[in-house]
């Protein structure tokens, strides 16, 4: 058990294992995204009141889910690094910040576009929207804070603390639609009880949510692998990785 835990914290082990799984994850993600997008855009019935603009839901809702779930990933990775000083956790945290920021931006952007035909405005200072904007600034804050330190350990600690303090915002986002009755509609999907949506519209949404979970995992792994190479570039195994390619190119040039 402990040996497994130790191996899990090894960047080299992570790099090699994730490399084996990556192609499969990429194929699965692409397949789910294509199926979900086509289904949502062309085959799901149109909404009686909103018409075709409701199809934005198939991006807006999954992206918002992952923007929030991604914050947990970032905060937990930061905490693991603070408590157990596992370097890999700090790398995952570094990888999660720009990804989360991009997804939060997409959630806000698609929401704004959807708001125009539905509410008649791109932007309102609604509780849900404002707390999502705070989430975007938290993600960007972690990215900026990371780059403003020269020492890697200090940067990791500072970012972890910022991320953990920012966790306060997460329940506010979830509850914002119930606490303040402003413009944004309440949750469509609840853990208890049936979704307030027709099954024909709901099924493609489920596919898209699954697709975006896979997409999140894919990009998080890609970012983490790059971060590993960057930080371990002076170690033997990373140099071997580069040399293997060098040896091949030299063989080719000698034969010519």
């Amino acid at each position: 058990m402990w040996r497994w835990f130790h191996r899990l914290g090894s960047p080299r082990w992570f790099y090699q294992t994730s490399g084996r799984w990556l192609p499969w994850l990429a194929v699965l993600t692409l397949a789910l995204l294509v199926i979900g997008t086509l289904w949502g855009l062309a085959f799901a019935p149109e909404d009686a009141r909103q018409g075709n603009s409701f199809r934005i839901i198939y991006i807006h809702v999954p992206v918002s889910f992952l923007a929030l779930a991604g914050y947990y990933v970032m905060a937990v990775a930061g905490a693991v690094n603070l408590i157990w000083r596992i370097k890999l956790a700090d790398m995952v945290m570094t990888a999660a910040a720009p990804l989360g920021a991009a997804l939060t931006f997409l959630a806000l952007f698609t929401g704004a576009i959807w708001g125009k035909p539905t509410w008649g405005t791109y932007w309102v200072w609604d509780a849900r929207i404002t707390s999502m904007l705070v989430l975007l600034f938290l993600y960007l804050g972690v990215v900026v804070l990371r780059n403003s330190f020269s020492g890697r350990d200090t940067a990791g600690k500072a970012c972890a603390i910022l991320a953990l303090v920012g966790t306060v915002n997460i329940p506010i986002i979830y509850k914002s639609v119930d606490w303040w009755f402003t413009l944004h509609q309440p949750a469509t999907i609840k853990l208890s009880g049936a979704p307030s949506m027709h099954p024909d519209m709901f099924k493609p949404l489920l596919v898209m949510i699954l697709a975006y979970y896979c997409f999140y995992a894919l990009v998080l792994i890609l970012n983490t692998r790059t971060e590993i190479l960057q930080r371990e570039r002076r170690t033997g195994w990373v140099n071997d990785l580069a040399v293997n390619k060098l040896a091949v190119t030299e063989l080719v040039s000698k034969e010519q």
């Binding site: 085959f43 149109e46 603009s53 934005i56 991009a102 576009i113 790059t226 990373v238 990785l241």
Partner: protein
């Protein structure tokens, strides 16, 4: 309009023609705008780490080549 496959029922294509599909019932700008921006951001998210990875490995390779070269020169001078 639905298509039946055994026990499964699938919704069929919701639009009369491809042109109507692209028009999105007058909401084309909103729907295609949202999907287009999402596509651009997602492609960027995937390409960015791949490019960074290639440049890191490239830089390492250049350094190793330089080191190899200087070792070779040193051995010739002796």
């Amino acid at each position: 309009m639905n298509i039946q496959f055994g026990n499964f029922q699938f919704d069929s294509f919701q639009f009369e023609s491809l042109a109507e599909f692209f028009a999105m019932g007058g909401h084309a700008t909103y729907v295609w705008g949202a999907y287009g921006v999402a596509l651009v951001v997602m492609v960027w998210l995937v390409v960015r780490p791949l490019l960074r990875r290639a440049s890191i490995l490239n830089e390492l390779r250049q350094n190793l080549k330089k080191r190899q070269h200087s070792l070779y020169e040193e051995s010739r001078e002796q």
